[in-house]
């Protein structure tokens, strides 16, 4: 029975809440909350991606595009037109939803490699647009001057304040997603993953669900993009390239696609790899990611989440 326990969630929330205090006390990890902001932003994307790929069995190799759409809509509308950032976040999410429908509808009949390639092509096209529409986006040089976020006068202008803001978003979407997984809708998605034919015969409107989960994953990726833009105050297209889509794939594969915690674990690991541990390797970073993917497909197809079961299996023998 698919039961996602509440205790680990509460425990994780407690750790997240307390962490900045601890970090302040230990000089070595003083800047870790900054890392965790990125981990949180990536979690937002991977939670949706995990629901899309791990639970519903769909594929997206172009999710960086939605991350970028959120970031650029927030950036462009606040910098060039002075809109309220929160409104821009909603507009970005809405726009991402529309794009997801426009791409998703014709993709309904595609499966497997065709679907993978279609999403890959879509991601690259969006990336090209970010690069080419210089008047709007600033082109390859990027766009700066993106304002920070504030709510009723309370400005999220410190690392710690932004940390709590991002993680509020993460926990909200995590709990929402967990609820969906354990509900009638979640069951329908898992059924679609297992057998589209049988699902249709049992009355599930497969098309509607596929589009629905794709839109959901696009919307939270877009929100993540907006949060990213308002934190960095600067964005440029190279953040939203094919390699980032692949990094997202690495996050959910490494953590474990079929478990929502896998998304969280993978996001944390890749964030730390990216920003901290692989810095010594510099150029070999890409090779490490590739090797990780290969090792995961060969030895741990269910990701790190599946590791306990593998280890138990050895002991049983």
């Amino acid at each position: 029975m698919l039961r996602i326990r509440k205790t680990p969630i509460a425990l994780f929330a407690a750790i997240i809440i307390v962490f900045p205090w601890i970090a302040r006390l230990i000089p070595a990890i003083k800047n870790y909350p900054d890392l965790l902001i990125f981990a949180g932003i990536y979690c937002l994307i991977t939670i949706g991606l995990s629901l899309l790929m791990g639970f519903s069995g769909q594929i997206s190799l172009g999710h960086a595009a939605f991350f970028g759409i959120g970031a650029y809509i927030s950036g462009v509308l606040t910098v060039r037109y002075g809109f309220n950032p929160w409104v821009c976040m909603l507009i970005g999410a809405g726009f991402a939803a529309v794009v997801a429908v426009l791409v998703g509808l014709p993709s309904l009949k595609l499966r497997g490699h065709y679907l993978a390639m279609a999403t890959l092509a879509f991601g690259i096209i969006v990336f090209i647009i970010f690069n080419e529409e210089v008047e709007l986006t600033g082109g390859p040089d990027g766009m700066s001057g993106i304002p920070g976020l504030s709510l009723f006068g309370f400005a999220f202008d410190s690392m710690e304040r932004y940390y709590y803001l991002v993680w509020f978003f993460v926990f909200t979407s995590f709990i929402f997603t967990v609820n969906v997984i354990q509900s009638r809708s979640g069951r329908a998605l898992r059924a679609i993953h297992s057998s589209q034919e049988a699902s249709m015969a049992m009355g599930v409107d497969v098309s509607r669900y596929k589009i629905g989960v794709f839109v959901y994953s696009a919307v939270i990726a877009s929100l993540a993009g907006s949060l990213y833009a308002h934190y960095m105050n600067f964005i440029n297209p190279s953040t939203f390239d094919v390699f980032f889509s692949i990094k997202l794939l690495i996050m959910i594969s490494l953590g474990g696609m079929h478990d929502i915690w896998g998304a969280v674990i993978g996001s944390f690991l890749v964030t730390f790899l990216s920003f901290e541990w692989l810095h010594y390797f510099e150029e070999a970073e890409i090779i490490v990611y590739g090797v990780i993917l290969l090792l995961v497909t060969i030895f741990m197809p269910n990701g790190l989440i599946g590791l306990p079961r593998i280890v138990l299996g050895w002991f049983r023998r």
Binding site: M1, L2, F176, T177, N179, V180, S183, R184, S185, G186, R187, A188, R190, A191, H193, S194, S195, E197, A198, S199, M200, A201, M202, G203, V204, D205, V206, G212, Y216
Partner: protein, 270 residues
Amino acid sequence: MVQEINIVVEKAGGGAILEVEDVIMSFGGLMALINLGFHVREGIIKAFIGPNGAGKTTLFNVITGIFPPTEGAVRFKGKPIDRLKPHEISRLGISRTFQTVELFANMTVLENVMLGRHIRTRSSFVASGLRLPHARRQEEEIRCRAMEILEFIGLAGKWSESSGSLPLGERKILEIGRALATEPELICLDEPAAGLNETETKTAADLIKRLKEKGITVLLVEHDMKVVMNISDEILVLNYGEKIAEGSPEEIQNNPIVIEAYLGGENGYA
């Protein structure tokens, strides 16, 4: 105590719950069904027999909306359904099982049947995500009804096991249970006894008879002639996509054309 499964039975024009009229199904030149036409009176068990490749599963696929017929019409309770999609047809009251058991292997026995309740319940993606009270209540109801069905089919003890881990006989029963959860008026069973031993076959046959007692009309594709002759009210014989005979089990058994084309004597019941 097994709760009665509520079914509203509507009399269609002529008493036929399903009408198939002059259906032709062609796949790029390959004629799978040729001018097929028949009625199904409600509440009976009607079997479709014939050699492999005769078009029986294709017929089920046409009825359940997997592909529209190239020509012809299919009517359920008087309403045309030949252009509808499978999930729409399921909503109207037709359910099915598959020749190769299509259970949801990534879910437990109970969850498979719970999925069967999908069309008879309603709660949106957002309501589920927010865990609104009515969504939670409905989830409880779904669970209860699914357990009742598991009791009805005799698999209640295995509710938490992975559906893929059951033996074939129980998987076939489970698939019928899942179809039952949709509250169908008409159920299409595609080779429910294939690959089963004697005991499993008897369990399956008994279950099918109990479906009829509930008032559900059963369409049955089956090769096991003992089962077919035992439980069917009517039999339709297909060969190369065409109907070659239709009638009661006795009539079919003694029909020379059928004997030559299919029953042959060694294969058959006689």
